[in-house]
């Protein structure tokens, strides 16, 4: 090497070997339903353990499939007032909320030009079947902006056939669809950085997009008090789940 002063080049220690354990990586990437991860708080972990036992019990009897926000689901519920005593609703999952037994998911569809959103409890005994018609992810964690998007992005055929998933078991397809919006006013100012939405094709003028950046909080990602490292908790829960449900 060309040295600048005629002195020998500074000693560079060899790079440390990075050991990538493929097995543990595979296990960590497998799907864990978000309602199993306990929220940060001062409650006794015993409460979450007992709730998890009930959730596992329900999952043994009733199959709750893996799905993400952005997948299209069909849910059949027991309804005392319907003619067949059951109602079937097809929609795209916009939001998954709640932790533990009270976990919910909201399905959205546009039926006869009327937008309909139904919020279901995942562990409610009235749900008789959940089928995933199309398993895919979107660019955002929640798709509440579909309320202000053009209705074509929320319409799904009620008699849609289930789309068989592509054979890649580890990779769920991410639909990088950029949605076109109805003219403003919207229910929320989706262009603001606090929502951090990547799935909208903003057709707003440049100065409006710049003005929205005024509300950005770039220090938030460095805030250490907001960090919640769930890796160890997730490992324990995954182990528990695989023991109970894997049988």
């Amino acid at each position: 090497r060309v040295s600048s002063d005629g002195k020998p080049p500074k000693f560079q220690p060899p790079p440390k070997p990075v050991i990538i354990d493929k097995k543990t990586q595979k296990e960590d990437k497998r799907f864990l339903s978000p309602e199993f991860i306990p929220p940060r708080g001062r409650t006794d972990p015993l409460k979450y353990y007992i709730e998890r036992k009930d959730m596992i019990q329900r999952r043994k009897v009733f199959n709750i499939p893996e799905f993400y926000v952005g997948s299209v689901l069909a849910v059949t519920t027991a309804d005392p007032y319907a003619s067949n005593k059951s109602t079937r609703f097809v929609g795209i999952c916009i939001q998954r909320g709640g932790k533990g037994l009270g976990a919910t998911f909201v399905l959205r569809n546009v039926i006869e030009d009327q937008g309909v959103e139904i919020c279901y409890d995942l562990y409610s005994p009235r749900i008789q079947a959940i089928e995933v018609l199309k398993l895919e992810k979107r660019l955002d964690e929640n798709l509440l902006y579909l309320r202000d998007a053009l209705p074509e992005y929320s319409t799904f055929d009620v008699n849609m056939k289930p789309v068989p998933p592509v054979d890649h078991h580890e990779e769920i397809p991410v639909n990088k669809l950029q949605v076109r919006m109805k003219p403003k006013p919207w229910s929320k100012r989706w262009e603001r950085p606090k929502y951090n939405i990547k799935g909208i094709k903003f057709e707003l003028p440049e100065h409006k997009m710049k003005a929205a950046q005024k509300w950005s909080q770039p220090w938030l990602e460095f805030d250490m008090l907001r960090e919640y490292d769930t890796s160890k908790i997730e490992k324990k829960i995954r182990k528990e789940l695989s023991e109970e449900l894997g049988k």
């Binding site: 006794d44 015993l46 005392p80 059951s86 009270g102 562990y123 409610s124 005994p125």
Partner: protein
């Protein structure tokens, strides 16, 4: 708090209460206490004995029990007297019973009159000078004084309050947990007193409760979970309406 579903598909919210190291500490007879019934002093939740002087440990030493964080009294009839030193478990209660729960409410500190008493305050604009959350008038002209107990700003919360008539849905005997309908005063992990309901509608509700209490070394073998009849068990298939 947790949701619980009945067999007809209705959802109810339920609070979990854990019975942690409860022991009977002392028996006070009717004449000694001067009340209408005998009393039993019960203590809950073990705590280190080093933060209090020796004089405070007498009750616990007599009963042969580590120092407890909270000691409460229960008014008890003469046939329900228990020997001091017996542990009390969650199985003392049965599903389908009704219960009153007492605890200290969450302390909110010094609060103004709008939050503490629900006053309406004054409008935000239209000429109000420095008066938006004040109590306004505190008495009339003729009274010429302010009555005792006038609602005014002050320390709010951190007082004992009771929720009456809460149904017990489920009991976990392994971890000593009582599932009680609705919400309960107090913050998470606070100490709470659970007592049979004194409401007149629930006077005859207890069908064969363990009397005087559930003894762990007795002959009864209870299953790990006791459910009320109406609860939907997660081992059953989904609910269908006929």
């Amino acid at each position: 708090m947790m949701p619980i579903w009945t067999k007809s598909g209705e959802k109810h919210a339920v609070t979990l209460l854990k019975v942690q190291d409860c022991h009977v500490l002392r028996y006070v007879s009717k004449e000694e206490s001067g009340g209408k019934t005998a009393k039993l002093l019960v203590g809950g939740k073990n705590v280190s004995p080093f933060s209090k002087p020796e004089s405070a440990h007498e009750i616990f030493k007599e009963a042969g029990v580590p120092r407890k964080q909270k000691v409460t009294t229960f008014n008890v009839t003469d046939d329900a007297i228990i020997k001091p030193g017996t542990p009390l478990y969650a199985a003392h209660f049965r599903p389908g019973q009704f219960v009153d729960v007492t605890a200290k409410t969450i302390g909110k500190g010094f609060q103004g009159v709008m939050k503490r008493w629900g006053f309406k305050g004054q409008p935000a604009s239209h000429g109000q000078t420095k008066t938006h959350r004040r109590p306004g008038a505190i008495s009339t002209n003729k009274a010429a004084k302010v009555y005792r107990g006038k609602k005014m700003p002050g320390k709010m919360g951190n007082i004992y309050r009771t929720s009456y008539g809460l149904k017990v849905w489920r009991i976990n005997t392994k971890h000593d947990i009582i599932y009680v309908n609705g919400s309960v005063p107090g913050h998470t992990n606070c100490l709470v007193k659970v007592r049979d309901s004194k409401l007149p509608t629930y006077k005859d509700c207890n069908k064969n409760p363990p009397f005087p209490t559930f003894f762990a070394d007795g002959d009864e073998e209870l299953p790990e979970d006791l459910f009320d009849e109406e609860i939907f068990q997660f081992t059953d298939p989904s609910v269908t309406f006929a």
